[in-house]
């Protein structure tokens, strides 16, 4: 009787297990009885990439997955390890993830541990400080997902939250805003600080870190007189003017705010800054006006197909000037903004001339009215003549 009940129970359990694991593939899954009791991690684990590739509980925790007997399953003879110690987690993960042979079929890199050991996290852990982040802090313990999956804790959109479990959350500024708009190319914490090799970039490295994306800006900056001066004084290159983390959109008001931090008001350098600002503002203003008139002309159904590409060209010159301003090369900036302005002004005057066709129409209208009024006059006179005749 008891045997029958037990048999029934086992059948039921295997059915449940099959239902739960169904479709999750993986050769070893049918033999993983751990999650029958450890249901609190079941859902998390089953969503993970490990479950999909048959990396079971035993791989990290040891023990015997083939028994429902609590003692046997957690026996030391079955190499049961329990919850791994924080100190040993990097090595535990690396036992597979740093093995090129094991990772080859998945196309994964194997240098994470090496990178981690160079990071601030890894260095402190090596000194025995277990409060620092280990693999599981960022990747989670059971619900490990590839970074490209939007639910993953290491997906670009979630990274700032993941880092904020320990650090202050810093997802403000232009980069955070771009990310929030769904631009996954925008930098996250890891882009500047490194992922596995996370560390604050040194003063000399900042321009290189920013310059991986802001290539044109860095090239122009390095040609400028700022480069040498700031290196000598060990000033952080990009950060000095643009700040870090909560980076504001770079507007022309920066010329008023930040130049005076180093250069006295009225100094030659400060005047150069103001000159650049005026040049950019003037070009921007001309472009804006030309665009406005173009839109007006478009509403009036005038043919603007000649002026549209010219305006694209002018805009292109202006946008090229924006990184070029970091060179502090006044003559170059002057030349580029002059081109943008002259094209914009040309477009503007051309569009005005196009609208000037209205003057000819008004002239024509005047002639039409002169004729029509004469006609009305003649008709009126004829009418009067006929009525007068009758009287």
């Amino acid at each position: 009787m008891a045997l029958v009940t037990l048999m029934r129970a086992r059948i039921w359990l295997s059915v449940i297990a099959l239902l739960l694991l169904g479709g999750r593939g993986g050769v070893g899954q049918e033999q993983n009885w751990c999650i029958v009791c450890h249901s609190e991690v079941k859902v998390e684990y089953q969503e993970s990439i490990h479950a999909a590739f048959a990396v079971t509980c035993v791989s990290c925790h040891g023990g015997d997955p083939l028994t429902l007997d609590v003692e046997k399953a957690h026996a030391v003879e079955a190499f049961f390890r329990g919850t791994p110690q924080r100190l040993e987690i990097p090595d535990l993960c690396a036992s597979c993830h740093s093995d090129p042979l094991k990772m080859k079929p998945y196309g994964l890199r194997t240098d994470q541990l090496a990178e981690y050991q160079t990071s601030q996290h890894g260095k402190l852990l090596a000194q025995g400080d277990v409060r620092v982040a280990v693999c599981t802090d960022c990747h989670t313990a059971h619900r490990i997902l590839p970074a490209w999956e939007p639910r993953s804790s290491t997906h670009p959109e979630n990274i700032s939250k993941t880092c904020a479990r320990c650090h202050v959350q810093r997802d403000h500024g232009v980069h955070g805003a771009a990310l929030a708009q769904g631009n996954t190319k925008a930098p996250t914490c890891a882009t500047c600080h490194g992922a596995h090799g996370a560390a604050p970039p040194g003063v000399e490295d900042v321009s290189r870190v920013c310059g991986t994306c802001h290539i044109a800006e860095r090239t122009y900056f390095e040609a400028s007189s700022h480069k040498k001066a700031m290196d000598e004084q060990r000033l952080s290159e990009c950060v000095s003017c643009h700040g870090s983390h909560a980076i504001e959109p770079a507007g022309r008001d920066l010329f008023d705010k930040v130049c005076v931090r180093c250069h006295g008001p009225g100094s030659h350098a400060q005047l150069v800054g103001q000159k650049i600002k005026t040049l950019l503002a003037a070009a921007d203003e001309s472009l804006r006006e030309a665009t406005q008139i173009l839109q007006q002309a478009q509403r009036k159904a005038l043919d603007i197909s000649v002026y549209q590409p010219r305006l694209i060209e002018a805009r292109s010159y202006f946008l090229q000037t924006l990184p070029a301003q970091h060179s502090l090369d006044l003559s170059y900036i002057e030349e580029m903004t002059r081109r943008a302005r002259s094209i914009a002004d040309e477009v503007r005057s051309g569009l005005y001339a196009l609208q000037g066709g209205v003057a000819i129409r008004l002239l024509g209208l005047t002639f039409v009215w002169i004729f029509l009024l004469l006609l009305v006059g003649v008709i009126y006179l004829t009418l009067r003549e006929r009525q007068g005749e009758r009287l």
């Binding site: 994306c213 044109a216 603007i304 590409p309 694209i312 060209e313 004829t382 003549e385």
Partner: protein, 152 residues
């Protein structure tokens, strides 16, 4: 007697003026209609039927490109190994005009260093979308440009 004769003369004069004025008016309107009906120089055609001659085949050797204006937009017509490719020259990031780099076989954006390959795919930099592709066709020894591939 004289008065009556004068009145009749005035009346006939007025009616002649009226008639000729009406005829002039109708002729003017007819002239306007004829002017309207005279076919304009530029032809209208729907997007799929528009085409533009770019160059003769031997004018753009392998690896070179030519920038032309098509429907108000700068366009690069490139001659690469796989054949002829036409791409919008307007960068998908901020709208600068990209330049063809004959040595590296890439399209470079001078503004934010966006980099595209000759198929329009993003290689590096801030742009997220590939460059818009246009239809290009070699007919005998002439290269022609057509509407964008999505429209077709």
């Amino acid at each position: 007697m004289d008065e009556k004769k004068q009145a009749t003369e005035r009346r006939t004069l007025l009616e002649t003026i009226l008639k000729s004025a009406l005829i002039i008016g109708v002729l003017g309107l007819a002239g306007a209609v004829l002017a309207y009906l005279f076919p304009p120089k530029r032809r209208i055609s729907s997007a799929t039927q528009r085409r533009m001659r770019v160059a003769r085949v031997d004018e753009i050797p392998l690896g070179k490109g030519k920038q032309v204006l098509f429907a108000g937009e700068p366009v690069w017509v490139l001659h690469v190994k796989s054949g002829w490719i036409a791409l919008s020259a307007v960068c998908t990031h901020q709208g600068c005009i990209v330049q063809w780099d004959e040595k590296r076989l890439t399209l470079n954006c001078p503004c934010h260093a966006g980099l595209f390959d000759a198929n329009g795919n993003v290689l590096a930099g801030p742009p997220r979308r590939p460059l818009k592709r246009l239809r290009v066709s070699v007919i005998r020894d002439e290269i022609f440009l057509g509407s964008s591939e999505e429209e077709a």
